[in-house]
Symmetry: C2
Subunit: 142 residues, 2 copies
DNA sequence: GTCAGTGCAAACCCTTTGCAGAAAG
DNA sequence: CTTTCTGCAAAGGGTTTGCACTGAC
């Protein structure tokens, strides 16, 4: 069973089910924020999520955006991407893949997983277990 | 030139030369901060650099630490490592290598470059050039 | 003397928190 | 009705900035 992640707008039932699957109570604001995150197949910062939500006429506060994004990330619904000391990006794609980060535009772009994958991890420091691997290719224009 | 009682591993002449090579005017504070950075083979945050400098009896202000670390990084003397949204780490090793980041301890550990290297970059987004590649393996204790 | 570097405190910006009111079950 | 969520504003914490002072050449 191959499930492809669609980039089109998801119905609120689908969104609600997705929240349920991750143990997240689907309130109105959470559904709206999930809608923003999953319909844009882009990487958004908290601020951008708030702007986008506001632009769509959703009524959400800044605190709720931050709290909700943190919750979604903790529950595994989305992934935090740390590439810029000034802001955290949120990636609706939780599958294994890496990123280009454009230092000039601040844009974060998915890297085709087939193009670069770390297949064998090196020995980890004693007493630790791997939690995740991030590869960031920093690029500049021209 | 008066020698101060310190634990520095590089002579101030060596440090001064290193700053010169990177086009950095070697002032007293810059030499002291370079001393802290290069004698500790660790990854330090700005705050840790300040603490360490103070502990050694160096007289540097917080603003100068931040300005100087930024300058060193811009000039290629040290490398910024972005792994934690709450602080930037500075790595005196500018050679190609990657990192383990311990989420429990906040510790950043060098990964032996022979253990993991990205030898062929995937095609970059159109109109961009690679600036650097960061691989972060996030680990937890136990 | 001139220009760059430094120190201090205040400003900044993103993010988190405290708490009262609203909503979900 | 009880518990959880939301919104507002204020606090928090790392980093940057404005400006006067100091130091290097």
């Amino acid at each position: 069973m191959v499930k492809t992640v669609s980039t089109q707008m998801l119905s609120s039932e689908e969104l609600g089910q997705r929240l349920d699957e991750h143990g997240i109570l689907p309130t109105q604001q959470r559904l709206q924020l999930a809608d923003v995150l999953f319909s844009a197949h882009r990487h958004l910062s908290a601020d951008q999520v708030l702007s986008e939500a506001t632009a769509r006429g959703y009524s959400v506060s800044k605190a709720t955006v931050y709290n909700t994004l943190g919750l979604f990330a903790r529950k595994g619904l989305i992934r935090e991407v740390i590439v810029d000391p000034n802001r955290v990006f949120y990636d609706p794609n939780t599958g294994p893949h890496h990123h280009f980060y454009n230092l000039d535009t601040g844009e974060l772009i998915d890297l085709d997983p087939e193009r670069l994958s770390i297949d064998s991890l090196p020995p980890l420091p004693a007493g630790t277990v791997a939690e995740g691997v991030d590869v960031i290719i920093r690029v500049r224009n021209q």
